[in-house]
Amino acid sequence: MKTIEGKVVILGAQGVGKTMVICRYITKMFNRRISPTIGAAFYTCNINLERGKVKLQIWDTAGQERFRSMAPMYYRNANVALLVFDLTKHSSFNEIKSWVMELKRNVDKTMVLVLVGNKSDLVSQRTVDAEEASQYATSIGASYHETSAVCDDGGVESVFVAAAAGLYDLSEENHEHLNSLRINDSIRSILNSDDQPASPSSEDCLADRSIAHGIHEKPHMCC
């Protein structure tokens, strides 16, 4: 069975619940006492699909303005971007659009996009409706999910499964142009802890061998 390994970056405005979503997924619990992320936090997880196994290395970035300039460090080598916004804050949805523009400008390789509307439990305060969000998701070639880290009904799980499935599709489509996406035909790499991921710098030099997909198919907006 094929095993693939990919990098995920979580982006979005401050306070939308990026860390909550990933924590919910990893620990299956909701932790109200979490403090704002400083810089970025690193998680790994394994997902079993019917087709094979996917190992995700996830960078959860800080949403505050002062960390914005550090984001390229994390998205440059990512295969998947989880774009998280707050369903009760329309401004955080608008901010997603500027993230997408930035990704289009700065990343020229294929990237799976997953749009996540968080805080779906706050129904009465909702300001972004599902149709608007899912239309936008389609327009950027992303899948759309709604989640609630407080009372999860499977939405959180579906986000990461979608990310894993997207990665899998990517690996099927583009065999000879693999960038930082790693494919192994056995499960050895998952079990073998000595199989170390390369550092971001060593992957930089591979960037120009990368492939175009998703984002690249669309005309560049500017620059």
Binding site: I38, A40, A62, E65, S69, P200
Partner: protein
């Protein structure tokens, strides 16, 4: 009261000159307690700003060690959004003056007014940035008054330092583009309050860097700094509470986790061996219960206790570090106020809550540091070091009663040559927060009198209502002691002598006497 003559007091140490905990090696920059204050007072505004912006240790390091081009510590290029003019906010504020609640107008709220220590931060343009006990945007008028006071005195080519009214001290520090003000009813002296405000300023620099702070105000005098500080207010809140409870700040020293020297060496060596090959790693710091377990440094580079205090504050106030590996930008103002270091921050293991920080100038080494951390933990587990750390963390600190000094209640001992201090556990009557803070207030008074710029003292013996205090400074150490109120002078001196012998005997456990390097 004060007794500058100390007959026979030098006899109490068995071997004069070799004070407990002293070491020729140190990883900390040793400082005078009032270094900050003297710097504040002696320099003119221009001098100081020159001084702050000239050196860059990080770029020096980057040039030294690596072939790759230095990383630009780029700042978000986004333009600041236009702010509503101040007048509007002022109007709002005056409209609300009639209502009597903290949310609406703190100035009419008696609890707010009765707070023992207020801290305010505003920009030179008078824009509110932070207030300790209430939301800062309700204080536009008050901060306007502060700004007016500062700029009025500045217009006469002078600087406002402090205002004293009854038992209240108003202390001003103007640093870079910021004005920091404290209104304090505590017994702390002006230099001590200046020191605290400087710490608060350094905390902001640690989050933003000096260069970014200067730049945003150069671009826009009216900039609202709160936008860049969102999420960091808790660091300032925590720092202020920390300074009220921790003698480390006014002592300018670090407390170590007591450990057998063989264990501590094993831990240091594990870190040296595992990380030795990783280029550009500057400091590896292991903290447990906010005490230093070990610090490994790159040759040539030292860490200033003030920087280490900010790191301790960051770790203690960030719940999010506990569950996950973080890659965190940290600026250490004393090390290099203009650049970020990158810190791999993680707790050793779920069953060992000690926090390891690996600080580097290279932003691309996260994965090597992450691997190194795993290996360090595995080795420490095999060699029972995790267990030793846990044991020391969970053990209550020894008290002076347990040392066999019944008339002595508490003590602070600072070894000057290593910038480390030791204190025993609190025992009755110092068991409540109020009593502990009161005791620290007494120590601060003694500290101030020992270091008073105009008339420094060497020895103070002071009989108070509830306790007798003794403070003693020599070339090698500072000692602050609390005794039962009725203790006699000979008994007190006798037990000081016993205490110093005990510390000398235990020094290898209580202090870090070597300074491992990569």
């Amino acid at each position: 009261m004060a007794n500058p003559e100390a007959p026979g007091v030098d006899d109490v140490i068995a071997e004069p000159g070799i004070e407990p905990g002293a070491s020729a090696e140190t990883m900390l920059v040793t400082t005078d307690s009032f270094e900050e204050y003297e710097q504040e007072m002696s320099n003119s505004i221009d001098d100081r700003q020159m001084k702050e912006s000239t050196t860059s240790t990080i770029s020096e390091l980057q040039e030294d060690i690596r072939e790759a081009p230095p990383t630009p510590t780029a700042v978000s290029p986004t333009e600041p959004k236009p702010e509503p003019p101040d007048d509007l906010e002022l109007e709002d504020n005056t409209q609300q003056l009639s209502l009597n609640s903290l949310e609406i107008d703190p100035l009419r709220n008696t609890t707010w007014l009765a707070q023992r220590k207020h801290i305010f931060i505003l920009s030179q343009a008078g824009k509110p940035i932070y207030s300790r006990h209430s939301s800062e945007d309700k204080l536009v008028t008050l901060m306007g008054v502060m700004q007016a006071l500062v700029s009025f005195v500045q217009a006469g080519n002078d600087m406002i330092r402090s205002v004293h009214a009854g038992d209240t001290n108003f202390v001003f520090v103007v640093k870079g583009p910021l004005i920091l003000v404290t209104v304090s009813k505590t017994l702390e002296s002006v230099p001590q309050l200046v020191l605290q405000l400087t710490y608060v300023y350094n905390q902001i620099v640690s989050v933003l860097t000096q260069s970014q702070l200067t730049r945003v105000y150069e671009q826009r005098r009216n900039f609202d700094l709160r936008r860049l500080l969102t999420g960091s207010e808790r660091l300032i809140d925590h720092l202020l509470n920390f300074m009220d409870k921790e003698p480390a700040f006014f002592l300018g020293a670090i407390k170590c986790l007591p450990l057998l020297p063989s264990m501590r060496d094993a831990i240091s060596q594990t870190i040296v061996q595992t990380c030795g090959k990783i280029k550009n790693l500057v400091f590896a710091i292991l903290l447990a219960n906010n005490q230093l377990v070990t610090l490994v440094r790159m040759k040539k580079y030292f860490i200033h206790p003030a920087d280490l205090h900010l790191i301790q504050n960051l770790v203690a106030s960030s719940e999010s570090f506990k569950t996950v590996e973080s890659w965190t930008p940290i600026c250490l103002p004393k090390f290099d106020s203009n650049g970020f270091m990158h810190g791999h921050v993680s707790y050793l293991a779920e069953d060992c809550q000690a926090c390891l920080l690996l600080l580097t100038v290279d932003k691309d080494v996260f994965y090597s540091l992450s691997d190194a951390k795993q290996k360090i933990v595995e080795k420490l587990r095999r060699t029972n070091c995790l267990e030793a750390i846990n044991e020391s963390m969970n053990k209550a600190s020894i008290t002076t009663a347990e040392i066999g000094l019944p008339e002595m209640r508490h003590v602070l001992y600072k070894c000057k040559s290593t910038a480390q201090f030791w204190s025993p556990g609190f025992q009755p009557p110092y068991t409540t927060d109020e009593e502990i803070e009161r005791l620290l207030g007494l120590y601060q008074c003694l500290h101030h009198r020992l270091h008073a710029p105009n008339r420094p003292l060497k020895l103070i013996f002071q009989q108070l209502d509830k306790e007798t205090m003794l403070a003693w400074v020599t070339s090698g150490f500072e000692l602050y002691l609390t005794f039962e109120p009725l203790v006699t002078k000979p008994d007190a001196i006798n037990s000081v002598s016993k205490l110093l012998k005990w510390i000398k005997k235990e020094e290898e456990r209580l202090f870090i006497l070597n300074s491992p390097t990569f």
